[in-house]
């Protein structure tokens, strides 16, 4: 029996506002526990929330980028439940009137994935449970009240690969909008997946499970793959899939049951009487729409068209807004897109590491890389020396000319100087010369290598070859 897979993702992104959603506390990650708190985010008696306008704006930005309708009338609701990470015993969220609804995101295949809704809510604190014999839990409320958006997709994803692509595209868009850091490792981007199987072609959806603890793209992919296998085996054996929440276990590489979903919790949602409804002026929404940046897919297409980049390069370089901007700045200084792309993908990527490249500041001036590419094209240095210079530029921030001068990297293009070295090498390796004259073309390559070695790689490669073949040819006669 064949099954169709139906996947929907619920993605939570922490918004990169300077302050929390209802108070003036900082949203910075990693502070000493409970130092970034106040009566409001601690939910002390009598304290009241005041909605951060920037958080609303960020949510609207996400909505517009994902082609949603933006609600002109929206409100905040209370979701009531007891848990020590939620100091008011309710989370302020949005229930029936989210800020954004009915959008979509297009995969590379052209398939449209519906975005059912995007709503604004507050994050909870963080619990740490003791692992020793003494049993206790610690609560850190620094994260309590950090603004979140929850982006709920339709059940439109059919494979783990599509789910990963969707999440990656979403990550890029949020990052381009500069509304979230999107660091899965720090929890600023979190993802839950709903997955069910149904007999191929059947309309009606099967019983779904919800997967949690998906802390990386790899975890998402593996957990979905595992779950497809698990559910299809159950169904094939005529057994039912239990509606439940399952946790991805990174060590066991399995999903494990957390709790059943048969008993749905009643959150007793109701409009938060402390917060007036959110009424948006269409002019305000239009203003935000106009301010949206070029989005990743548009940028990628443009890079392919305007810079002639191969798709692979364009995709990688537009994978992070900073990187794309860096690339454009390099080319504004000196136009050689493919060379720029090679240096960015090869050298910069290696030096920074892929993750860093996506998120951290690039510690060098793009104009300097432009200058370097120009020096290479003008024959001042070779590509291989260029890579060494680049490494120094990356470490010190110095201009390429300075490094070349200081390190004596300048290419040897002086014919008489180079000719002396060529003749020295020919003399030193009579066997190779004989081999070459005897018809072994490869032997010339060895001699080129030796000359490069003598010149510490700084010989002008074209001139070197010209001189070598000329001298060898002389010996033929």
């Amino acid at each position: 029996m064949r099954f169709d897979t139906v996947i929907g993702l619920e993605v939570h992104a922490e918004l990169a506002t300077a302050t929390k959603i209802f108070c003036a506390c900082t949203t910075k990650f990693g502070g000493v526990a409970n130092t970034q708190t106040c009566p409001v985010c601690l939910g002390l008696p009598g304290a009241l929330p005041v909605l951060n306008k920037r958080a609303v704006e960020y949510c609207i930005r996400a909505g517009l980028a994902l082609r949603c309708e933006i609600a002109k009338f929206s409100k905040m609701d209370r979701k009531n439940f007891f848990y020590p990470d939620m100091p008011k015993a309710y989370q302020i969220s949005q229930y029936d009137l989210p800020l954004c609804r009915d959008g979509f995101l297009t995969l590379d295949s052209g398939k449209k994935i519906r975005i059912n809704r995007i709503h604004l809510e507050e994050d909870a604190g963080k619990l740490t449970h003791s692992t020793g014999t003494e049993r206790y839990s610690l609560v850190d409320y620094n994260r309590a009240g950090v603004p979140l958006i929850e982006i709920v997709s339709g059940p439109d994803l059919s494979t783990p690969a599509e789910a990963v692509e969707y999440l990656e595209k979403l990550r890029r868009i949020l990052e381009y909008l500069e509304i979230s850091d999107c660091k899965m490792a720090e929890g600023s981007l979190r993802c839950d997946a709903n997955i069910s199987l149904k007999p191929a072609g059947q309309e009606e959806l099967g019983t779904k499970t919800e997967l949690k603890n998906l802390n990386s793209f790899k975890a998402l992919s593996r957990a979905l793959t595992y779950e497809i296998k698990r559910q299809s085996e159950l169904l094939a054996a005529g057994q039912a899939v239990r509606p439940e929440t399952r946790k991805w276990d990174e060590v066991k590489q399995k999903t494990l049951s957390m709790r059943g979903k048969e008993e749905t919790q009643d959150y007793r949602y109701f409009p938060d009487p402390d917060l007036p409804p959110i009424e948006l002026d269409p002019a305000y929404i239009a203003e935000i729409a106009v301010s949206l940046p070029e989005l990743p897919d548009e940028k990628k297409q443009r890079f392919m068209a305007d810079y002639g980049l191969p798709e692979y390069d364009a995709d990688l370089i537009t994978g992070a807004k900073r990187l794309a901007e860096f690339f454009e700045a390099v080319n504004a200084r000196y136009f050689n897109p493919k060379a720029a792309s090679n240096f960015i993908m090869g050298e910069l990527l290696r030096l920074m590491g892929e993750e860093q490249l996506k998120s951290a500041e690039i510690p060098m001036n793009p104009a300097s890389l432009g200058d370097l590419l120009k020096l290479i094209d003008e024959g001042e240095i070779s590509v291989s020396v260029g890579k060494k210079v680049f490494a120094r530029m990356f470490q010190t921030g110095a201009a390429p000319e300075e490094i070349i001068k200081a390190e004596g990297f300048k290419q040897i293009s002086d014919e008489s100087q180079l000719l002396a070295i060529v003749n020295k090498v020919i003399k030193a390796h009579p066997q190779s010369v004989q081999d070459y004259l005897g018809g072994k073309e490869k032997a010339a390559g060895f001699l080129v290598g030796q000359i490069m070695r003598e010149t510490k790689g700084q010989a002008n490669p074209q001139l070197l070859k010209d001189l070598l073949y000329r001298e060898l040819d002389k010996l033929k006669d």
Binding site: L42, L44, P45, G46, V139, D272, P273, L275, P276
Partner: protein, 493 residues
């Protein structure tokens, strides 16, 4: 008459002329507290040492001829649900025992900034749920006109303190009548401002969409003086309203000719004590003599207002009070159990009194799936109709007058065994909160030796109008100056 029996405006005049100094007034208040507090129980906590220091500082400023705050050297009581930094604030509940807020409510901050001398937290029904102070987990306050009777509630302690001179004025909070009803029972003046006029920041919430802080005073002029300070936009409260600053004493002196008073039939019908009704109607006659025009009006949704109020206030309260779990502050269950839920249950079972539990259970049910649609949403719709109906009425009239309470002060135990009877105490006042309107209760006579309150309701943000009517009434009557027996005795000593 002692200094502690004077009003804010009288003391301000004496201070301005340097005839009397705050320390003397405070000494008088403290003498009165020592004399009667044990019998009437107005306070949850007293901070007399702090008050003495504040009063002495005010003396120095007055003597030095420095610019004075509006409340410079005026001893004031604040209700037990108003947070004051460094002072235990418990809402008269066991569950908040030991809770010392690190911040001060905006309303309290404002009166402190104007030089008020804060005496302490006044007694109240636990979490402001009740109409008699019988639900205080700490003590019952007693009605100074008859110690066998309740002073009303939930701001009962505040009303008693003002009535017997244990404070010159007090702050209370009003969700369904909690300022006006005890003001009526104790013979003082109590104002509930328009929803949003006074910041709720630091007021420990009962029902967020209904709660409003207001003054309890000896007359309407003091009420206006306090409102001048309390009112105004607060960026810490999203429901507070921004608008031009109004001087609420502005129209006090206006005569009443041409003022149109609406008498809603439904507020004078069954369930309203006959003598209370007559007393209020007599007061209305007097206003007529002062030039006001009286028209009968009808507010047809009145019958639905109290039930809808109970639904909305309980629903909101159940959520507002969910945070009291004993984990971060307040009183936790004696032994921490292995099971988190068991700990919550034990803490809340031990920490809350019966009325609070009743409303939490009721509210939790009312917000649950199914019940929400059937009751809570309906109650919100009723609320919209009530607002609409009041707004329409105010197209015809300037103020609406009703009895503040259906009866005079009731005896201890008379209603505390029957929650519905207790809720009925707010039948005339709760609709006003539902509509977010301003209303003032002023003493308008006596029935069987106990004060009767008249409620003057205004359109949104027309506090100047209701204060004008109240002031003009008090100009020609002396019910607000009548003092209960303990004060008369003490005054002659």
């Amino acid at each position: 008459m002692e200094l502690c029996d004077l009003t804010i405006h009288e003391l301000r005049r004496l201070y301005a002329r340097k005839e009397v100094f705050p320390s003397e007034v405070l000494a008088s208040v403290i003498r009165r507290i020592h004399a009667v507090e044990k019998d009437y129980g107005a306070y949850l906590t007293l901070d007399l040492e702090g008050a003495v220091e504040q009063a002495q500082a005010a003396d120095v400023r007055i003597k030095a001829g420095k610019p004075l705050g509006v409340l410079e050297g005026i001893p004031v009581a604040i209700k037990g649900n108003l947070c004051q930094a460094g002072r235990e604030t418990t809402c008269a509940s066991r569950i908040l025992q030991g809770f010392v807020p690190p911040y001060t409510a905006t309303a309290v901050r404002k009166i402190l900034a104007q030089g008020a001398v804060i005496l302490g937290h006044a007694n109240m029904d636990e979490f402001a749920m009740g109409s008699s102070t019988e639900y205080s987990a700490v003590k019952k306050s007693k009605n100074p006109w008859d110690p066998l009777r309740t002073p009303g509630g939930s701001s009962g302690g505040s009303a008693v303190a003002v009535a017997v001179g244990e404070a010159i004025a007090a702050l209370g909070s009003d969700t369904g009548g909690s300022i006006r009803q005890p003001a009526a029972f104790c013979g003082v003046t109590g104002l509930k401002p328009t929803y949003g006029l006074v910041s709720r920041y630091g007021l420990i919430a009962l029902a967020s969409s209904l709660d409003q802080i207001g003054p309890l005073t000896k007359d309407a002029e003091d009420s206006a003086l306090l409102l001048n300070i309390l009112s105004g936009f607060d960026p810490m409260d999203s429901t507070s309203v921004s608008g031009k600053k109004v001087d609420y004493t502005r129209d006090l002196q206006q005569d009443l000719s041409g003022k149109r008073i609406g008498l809603p039939l439904e507020y004078f019908e069954a369930g309203i004590d006959a003598e209370v009704k007559c007393t209020v109607l007599e007061a209305v006659e007097l206003l007529k003599e002062l030039g006001a025009e009286v028209v009968e009006i009808s507010l047809k949704f009145t019958d639905y207002a109290l039930p809808a109020y109970c639904i909305i206030s309980s629903g909101e309260a159940s959520s507002n009070l969910a945070r009291y779990d004993g984990i971060r502050y307040g009183k936790a269950a004696a032994r921490i159990e292995d099971n988190l839920n068991a700990f919550y249950i034990r803490t809340r079972s031990e920490g809350f009194g019966p009325e609070v539990k009743r409303r939490i259970m009721l509210g939790t049910y009312l917000l649950s799936a199914g019940a929400y649609e059937a009751y809570y949403k309906k109650a919100q719709q009723v609320r919209s109709l009530i607002i609409q109906e009041f707004n329409e009425a105010f197209q015809q009239v300037d103020v609406i007058i009703t009895p503040t309470t259906p009866t005079i002060a009731f005896k201890f135990g008379e209603k505390s065994q029957d929650p519905l009877q207790m809720y009925w105490s707010e039948v005339c006042t709760a609709p006003v909160n539902m509509a977010g309107l301003p209303a003032i209760s002023i003493p308008c006579g006596f029935s069987r030796g106990l004060p009767v309150g008249m409620q003057i309701i205004g359109a949104h943000f027309t506090e100047t109008v209701i204060l004008n009517v109240a002031y003009q009434y008090q100009r020609v009557t002396d019910y607000h100056q009548a003092r209960p027996e303990p004060v008369r005795q003490e005054g002659t000593v």
